[in-house]
Every structure is written in C-alpha cells, then in structure tokens.
Amino acid sequence: MEKRELFMSELRAIYAITVKDLVAYYLKPPNLSWGIFFPVTITLIFLLVRPLDMVALAPGLIGVAVLFGTTSMAAIDVTFERRTGTLDRLIAAPISIPGLALAKILAATIFGFMMAAVMLIIVTVYLGALIINWSALLVAVSLSAFTCSAFGVLIAVGVREVFEAQTLLNFFRFPMIFLCGVFFPFTQLPVILIPFGLLLPLTYAVDLLRFSLMGTLLLYPPLISASILFGYFLILYTATILLLRNRFR
C-alpha cells in the first residue's frame, strides 16, 4: 500500500470512529441534555451568588463548561469501550494508535464545541456579554476543547472504571476552577498560588476566552497563550499515545 493510500485509509478510519463515538455515546439524549443542563445550572448558581459580575464571569463559565463536558464524556467513552472490549476491536483494526487516540479526542472536542455553543448563547443572549473577537473565540474554544479532551482521554486510558476516571479527573478539575481565574481575575490570586495557576492549561484557556469576549488580557499576548495551550495539547496527546502503546505491547 502506498503512503498516500495509507494516509487516506487512516483519515477514513479516524472519521469513522469519531462519527461512531458521537452517535453511540455523545449524542444520546441523556448526554445531550446533560450538555445543556450543566452550563445552565452553573450559570444559575453564579447568577444567584454574584448577579452583578456575570459578564466578567462569562469566559470562566465557558472554560468550565468545556472542561467538565469534554473530560467527563471522554472518560465515559474510553472506559466503557475498554470494559466492553470494543477498544480491543479498534486496536485490532487497521488504524494506528495515534490515529485512534486522535479519533477519541476529536469526538470529545466536538462535544466540547457544543457545550461552548450552549454557554455562549446563555452569556450573550441572556447575560448581555459581547463577542469582541470572533477569530480569537474560535481559537480559544478549539484549543480548550482539544486540550481538555486529550486530558480526559489520557486519564481514561490509564484506569479501568468510569468512577476511577471521574475521581482522578476531579482531583485536577476542582483545583483548576479556583486556580485558573474562573471566579475572579487570575491576577487577584494570592501570590503563593500564582505559580500553580500558571501550570494549569485552563488558566490560558480562560485568558484567551476573556480576550475574545472582553478584549482584555491578564497574562500573555493571545498568540503566546494559544501556543502554551497547544503545547499542553501536544503533551497530553503524546502521553495518551504512549500509554495506549504501553497497554497493548
């Protein structure tokens, strides 16, 4: 088989797995409704607690919706497939491990886009937030969704059961909410916590989202934040590939 033909067959297989994952897991009514209710619920919670600051909270809310939506669903998808043996079927199919990992990440990323879209509708239509920079918003949501999805898939590949994956994910997700500038601007964090915040990808995702919605930046220029987020994606994607290879060697 020629290289071009191999590449095309890889792309076809990635597409097939992504569509199958969306149909079999992500677009099921319970998950879709969760995808809508989760953003609505967290918005209402914040609306009750801090009704005056909702526009300022919009970037953080979108970031949290993407983080929880992608990681939770990716973890369910992968652990379920491991338990039912369908992941073995995919490994035994003519697709490379990087291709398989990418397909799993893509499906979760598309779900993340949907979560972000729901959240954007809420913050713009009902809370009065404005989108200042559409292209920055697209980059911010894409990189956030890819990075968070890769994180979810990585954790799920490393464990056996859904509850293990969710517990491990929460170990990272909840501190991220407090350390990444979701509730209040990152620069208002106690100095001692700033280095921890800088180590977490959600910090850069929220900063990029803040730039696209409010036109303000607290950390680095958008290109640098985007590059850091892309770097995180590459690290998490590579770790997923290595872990998958290790499981099937």
Partner: protein
C-alpha cells in the same frame, strides 16, 4: 507446494517471568482450517492477540499473507477477527455496526450496502438488521460478530472460541457457516477448547498446553500417534491432563 498463508516461527510472549506463549512454530496453507486446541490458559487467546496486533511478541516472527508482523497495519487488513467476546456496539443497530466496521476497514462507500446485505443474508440475519445489537440473543450476536469479521473480505479468518456459551442450535448454525466459509476457500484459524469442534471442522490441529506447542497434525494422525480411538482421548494423552485422577478424587 505453495507458500503458506500464515507462517509463525518461534513466536513467544512473556509477561514478566511467565511465558504465555513459548516458541510456537507452525504454518497454514491457503484454504486450510487449523484448529488450535488447548485447555483454559493454554495461550490460545494470547496467540490471537499476537497475530492481530493486540500484543507485541517478545520473540519470534510471523508472516500473514506474506507480510511481516512488524507491518501490523497491513497485516490487520488481511485478517477478519471474531473475538471470544461479542465486542460490537450495544447502542447501535446491526446495520449501523456493520457500516462502522466496513468504514473502519476501508470498504468503498459504493460497495458497503451491497456487501452488508450479502453478509446478512449469509448469516441469516436480514430480518434483524434494524435491531439494536444489545437486543439480540447471544447466538444472534455471535453471528453479527462473524458478519463483522467478514465485511472486508479477509483472506484469513481468526475465530477465538466462536461457540462458547451458545446453545446447540446456535452452535450448529455457526459450525455450518464455518464449513461454508471453508468450502469457499477462506483460511481459518479456529481457537477452541471444544474437541469435537476441532475434530469435525479442522484439517489439522495444533495443541497448546501452558503456552507450549505439544502437537501439530491431522486429527487422524494424532489418534494414530497416541493409540487413542478419538481426538478427545488423544488430547488428554498429549496434554497429560490428570483427568482420570481428578475424576477419581471427586468420586
């Protein structure tokens, strides 16, 4: 004599200090059915995993349809795998499952519908095409898994314990399908611990015990070599399983 379609040389898989498969060597001619017999834990499924890329060998080589196992993506395209568990998607219909597997193996879009209909006819499941996979009985699920293994028209079919847990009718139906595939010229590697299955369906039998290859011959040759009247007795003699003493112990 033609080159064998499967050539396995000194294939070994070590898990820590335990050798699940130890220096197994055999070859299979095109169109042949080779049964791999062995008690539970003999290394049959490990062998399947090695030949399908789910595990990497610690030592040894294998060539499938002339392709070295190191080029595993090309090897996978040559193999249809029916695993021991029915690992298709419970929430998808029979038809959607087969469409997915066809896409995964690169069956051209224009051919998919026709091919799936033909295979559903072959496994007698045309009237269940729109049913969810999880709603099917175990026997019907096994037939869908067989259909999925055949969708890309592989030159080699690997069946890992295809009839475990099936009732007599489903088992016989599956046996009939395996015979039909053999008659159509498909090369089949049949992993089983049902001795009568190996005796009736296979041209030759490879016996594994604790990961080691202990015999490779036709069922008749194995009976002759051991002086047994049937393959089951020959199997017990060859593997040295202490069945008689265990039966006596149990009263």
């Amino acid at each position: 004599m033609m080159d064998p379609i499967i050539r396995v040389e000194a294939l070994t898989k070590q898990f820590g200090h335990v050798a699940a498969v130890k220096a197994v060597t055999f070859s299979v001619q095109a169109g042949e059915v080779l049964g791999v017999l062995g008690p539970n834990g003999a290394g049959k499924t490990t062998m399947v995993h090695l030949l399908t890329g789910l595990l990497r060998p610690t030592q040894g080589t294998a060539h499938i349809a002339g392709i070295d196992l190191s080029q595993i993506r090309l090897v996978k395209q040559q193999i249809g795998l029916m695993p021991e568990i029915s690992n298709l998607y419970e929430e998808l219909s029979v038809w959607r499952n087969l469409v997915f597997v066809a896409q995964l193996y690169g069956v051209p879009r224009g051919e998919r519908g026709h091919r799936i209909r033909a295979i559903l006819h072959q496994v007698d499941l045309e009237d269940r095409r729109d049913m969810l996979f999880r709603r099917l009985s175990k026997g019907l699920q096994r037939r869908v898994v067989l259909a999925a293994a055949l969708i890309h028209q592989p030159s080699i079919l690997i069946l890992d314990e295809p009839t475990v847990g099936l009732d007599v009718l489903s088992r016989r139906l599956l046996h009939q399908m395996i015979r039909s595939l053999h008659e159509a010229g498909t090369t089949i590697l049949l992993m089983t611990h049902f001795i009568e299955e190996a005796e009736t369906l296979c041209n030759r039998v490879l016996i594994l015990n604790r990961g080691q290859q202990v015999a490779l011959a036709t069922p008749a040759e194995l009976c002759q070599q051991t002086g047994a009247s049937n393959l089951e007795d020959a199997f017990v003699t060859i593997t040295g399983l202490p069945i008689e003493s265990m039966l006596q112990e149990k009263g």
